[in-house]
C-alpha cells in the first residue's frame, strides 16, 4: 500500500515535469534566442549565447515604436475596462431590481447575442465605422469593446446583484440616499469579487485582441501592441534575433503582471468559467 503510493507520486512528478517543459519550453526558446546574434540562432538555436547580445532588443524597441504601441494598448484597455464596469454595473442593477418588461426583453437579447461570432459582424462593423469616419481612432475601438463586452458583464453582475438582499438598500433609502448613491456607495463595493473577475477576463481579451484593431487601425502611430508586433515580425521575419527580441518585449509585461497577480487571475478566470 505504502510502496504503491510512492510509485504513484514519482510517476506524477515525472509526467508533470515533462508536461511543464512542454508548456513553457517555447517561451524559453524565444528568450534564449533573443539574446543571441542571428548567426548564432541559425547555427544552433538550442545553444547558449556566446555573449549576451542586446542589440535585437534595442532595434526591436525602436522599430516597434514600443512605447507608443504599448501606450495605445494601455489607453484602449484601461479606458474600455473603466467605462465597461460602470455602465454594466448600472445596467445590471436596474435589470436586477426592476422587473419591467423592457428590462427583461433587453436582458434576453443581450444573453442571446453572446453566441454571435465576431466574423459575422466584422464586415458591417468596418462599413459602419468607416461611414462615420471612425477608423484610425482609438476611441472608436474603445466604443466597439464597450458594445462587444457589455452583455457578458451585465449578465455576470445581474446574477450577483440578484443575491444581494434588498433590505440593505432600504436603510440607505431611509437615510435619504438616491438611487445612484445606493448603487455606488452600497452595492458597488459588495460587487468586488465579480468586478475583479470581469476586469481580469476583459483585460486579457482586450489587451490581446488582434482582429478588431487590425480592421480599424491602419496608422502605425495608432497600432496596439499585438498589431505592431505582427507587422514588425512580417517585416523582419528572417532576422530571428530581432523577431525573438520583439516577442519578448511583447510578452514580458503580461508575464510580470502574472507573477504579481497569479492568484487573482487564476481565481478570476475559474470564477468566470463557472458563471
Amino acid at each position: 500500500m505504502k510502496k504503491s503510493a510512492v510509485i504513484k507520486k514519482i510517476c506524477f512528478y515525472v509526467v508533470f515535469i515533462l508536461l511543464l517543459l512542454l508548456f513553457l519550453y517555447p517561451f524559453y526558446l524565444v528568450l534564449l534566442n533573443s539574446l543571441k546574434t542571428n548567426k548564432e540562432v541559425i547555427l544552433d538555436s538550442l545553444a547558449l549565447p556566446q555573449a549576451l547580445n542586446f542589440e535585437g532588443y534595442q532595434k526591436a524597441f525602436e522599430k516597434m515604436n514600443y512605447l507608443q504601441s504599448f501606450g495605445n494598448s494601455l489607453i484602449v484597455t484601461s479606458l474600455s475596462i473603466f467605462l465597461l464596469v460602470i455602465i454594466a454595473a448600472m445596467c445590471a442593477y436596474l435589470f436586477a431590481r426592476k422587473n419591467w418588461k423592457i428590462n427583461n426583453i433587453i436582458f434576453m437579447v443581450m444573453v442571446a447575442s453572446m453566441i454571435i461570432p465576431f466574423q459575422t459582424i466584422m464586415i458591417p462593423i468596418v462599413k459602419n465605422f468607416s461611414a462615420f469616419d471612425l477608423t484610425d481612432n482609438l476611441f472608436a475601438v474603445v466604443f466597439f469593446y464597450l458594445g462587444a463586452h457589455v452583455s457578458l458583464a451585465v449578465f455576470m453582475y445581474h446574477g450577483f446583484i440578484k443575491n444581494i438582499p434588498y433590505e440593505l438598500e432600504e436603510a440607505a433609502r431611509i437615510d435619504g440616499c438616491g438611487q445612484l448613491g445606493i448603487l455606488f456607495r452600497i452595492i458597488f463595493p459588495m460587487l468586488k469579487p465579480i468586478t475583479s473577475t470581469i476586469v481580469i477576463l476583459d483585460v486579457l481579451a482586450i489587451w490581446n485582441d488582434f482582429l478588431l484593431p487590425f480592421i480599424l487601425l491602419y496608422k502605425n502611430s495608432l497600432k496596439t501592441l499585438p498589431l505592431m508586433t505582427y507587422s514588425f515580425v512580417g517585416q523582419y521575419s528572417t532576422d530571428y534575433s530581432l523577431v525573438t527580441a520583439g516577442l519578448v518585449l511583447t510578452i514580458l509585461p503580461i508575464i510580470i503582471l502574472y507573477l504579481f497577480l497569479q492568484k487573482q487571475i487564476i481565481e478570476g478566470v475559474s470564477q468566470g468559467a463557472i458563471k
Binding site: L22, L29, I102, S113, I123, N128, F144, G147, I255
Partner: protein, 292 residues
C-alpha cells in the same frame, strides 16, 4: 401615477441607457446590417449599393473554397475539442489529488492563455520552422527533418498542436473547479464500493462534473470554430491554402477578394452552423447532468 412613470423612464435612461445604447449601436446594428448586406452588391468602398436578391447566397453555395475550408474546420474542431478536453481533464484530475506543487503547475499551464493568439503563432512558427528543423537534422529525428509548416498535413497538425497547447490550460481551470466541488464523502463511498482508478473516473467523477463538461466543450467548440489569430501568424492558410480555416476564408473573401456580399453571406452561414451545433451540444450534455 404619471410622475412615477416619468421617474421610471428617467431611471431607465440613466441606469441602462449607456449600456443599452453601445450594445445596440455596436452589436445589434451590425448584426442587422450584416443580414441586409447579404442581399447587396456592396463593394467595400462606395456609399451606394444595389439589392441583388439571393445572388450572394447562390455564389456562397457554389464557392467550393468555402466548403473545403468549412470541412477542414470541422476536422480541426473535432481534433482540438477532443484532445483539449481529454488532456485538460486528466491534468485537472491529477492536480486535485493533493500533491505538493499543484498550485505551481496550475499557474504554469495557464500561462499560454495570457498571450494573444497572433503572438503565440509567431512563437511556434519559430519553433516549428527553425528549432525543430535544426533538431531533426542534428539528431536525425525523422518527423522533424522537414519543416512542418511547409506541407499540408503536418501544417494542419501544427495548428492543432498549438491550439491544444493553449486551450488545455484554460479548460483545466474549468475542470478543476468542477472536480473540487464534488463532495469528498461521495468519493470515499465510491472507493469503498470498489470504484477506484479508471472505473472511479468513469462512473463517479465524470457524471458528477457534467456541468463542467458542458461549459468546457461549449467553450472549446466556439473557440475552435472562430480560430483566426494562430491560423494567420502560424501558417497564414498555407501551404497553398491547405490550412485556411473558415474564419480566415471569410476574412479573405471580403477584404482581399473584395467580395463583401459573398463574404458576409458565408459569415452568416458560419453563424447559423455554430449556433445550431452549440445548441445541440449544450442540450445533449445538459441532459446528462446529475445531482450528487
Amino acid at each position: 401615477m404619471k410622475s412615477s412613470k416619468i421617474k421610471n423612464v428617467v431611471s431607465f435612461l440613466v441606469f441602462a441607457g449607456p449600456a443599452v445604447t453601445v450594445f445596440f449601436l455596436v452589436i445589434i446594428l451590425a448584426f442587422i446590417n450584416g443580414i441586409q448586406l447579404t442581399f447587396t452588391d456592396w463593394n467595400g468602398l462606395s456609399d451606394t449599393y444595389q439589392y441583388i436578391g439571393f445572388r450572394n447566397y447562390a455564389d456562397a453555395f457554389a464557392d467550393t473554397a468555402f466548403w473545403t475550408s468549412l470541412l477542414r474546420t470541422f476536422q480541426y474542431v473535432v481534433c482540438v475539442v477532443v484532445f483539449t478536453n481529454i488532456i485538460a481533464f486528466l491534468i485537472a484530475y491529477f492536480l486535485t489529488r493533493g500533491y505538493k506543487g499543484q498550485g505551481f503547475f496550475r499557474v504554469a499551464f495557464f500561462t499560454p492563455n495570457l498571450i494573444g493568439g497572433v503572438i503565440l503563432g509567431i512563437v511556434w512558427k519559430f519553433v516549428f520552422s527553425e528549432v525543430f528543423v535544426q533538431l531533426g537534422r542534428k539528431y536525425e529525428i525523422g518527423i522533424f527533418q522537414s519543416n512542418w509548416l511547409s506541407s499540408p498535413d503536418t501544417a494542419f497538425l501544427a495548428l492543432v498542436v498549438v491550439a491544444v497547447w493553449q486551450l488545455a490550460g484554460y479548460l483545466m481551470l474549468i475542470y478543476m473547479a468542477g472536480i473540487i466541488s464534488v463532495p469528498k464523502d461521495v468519493l470515499e463511498a465510491a472507493k469503498l464500493d470498489g470504484a477506484v482508478g479508471f472505473r472511479g473516473i468513469r462512473h463517479i467523477v465524470l457524471p458528477l462534473i457534467m456541468p463542467s463538461i458542458t461549459i468546457a466543450t461549449f467553450m472549446s467548440v466556439k473557440t475552435a470554430f472562430m480560430a483566426y489569430d494562430v491560423n494567420l501568424s502560424l501558417t497564414n492558410g498555407g501551404p497553398f491554402q491547405s490550412t485556411e480555416l473558415v474564419a480566415m476564408r471569410v476574412y479573405n473573401k471580403a477584404f482581399q477578394a473584395e467580395q463583401y456580399g459573398v463574404g458576409q453571406t458565408e459569415a452568416l452561414i458560419l453563424f447559423v452552423i455554430v449556433a445550431v451545433i452549440s445548441i445541440i451540444q449544450v442540450s445533449i450534455t445538459k441532459k446528462r447532468e446529475v445531482e450528487a
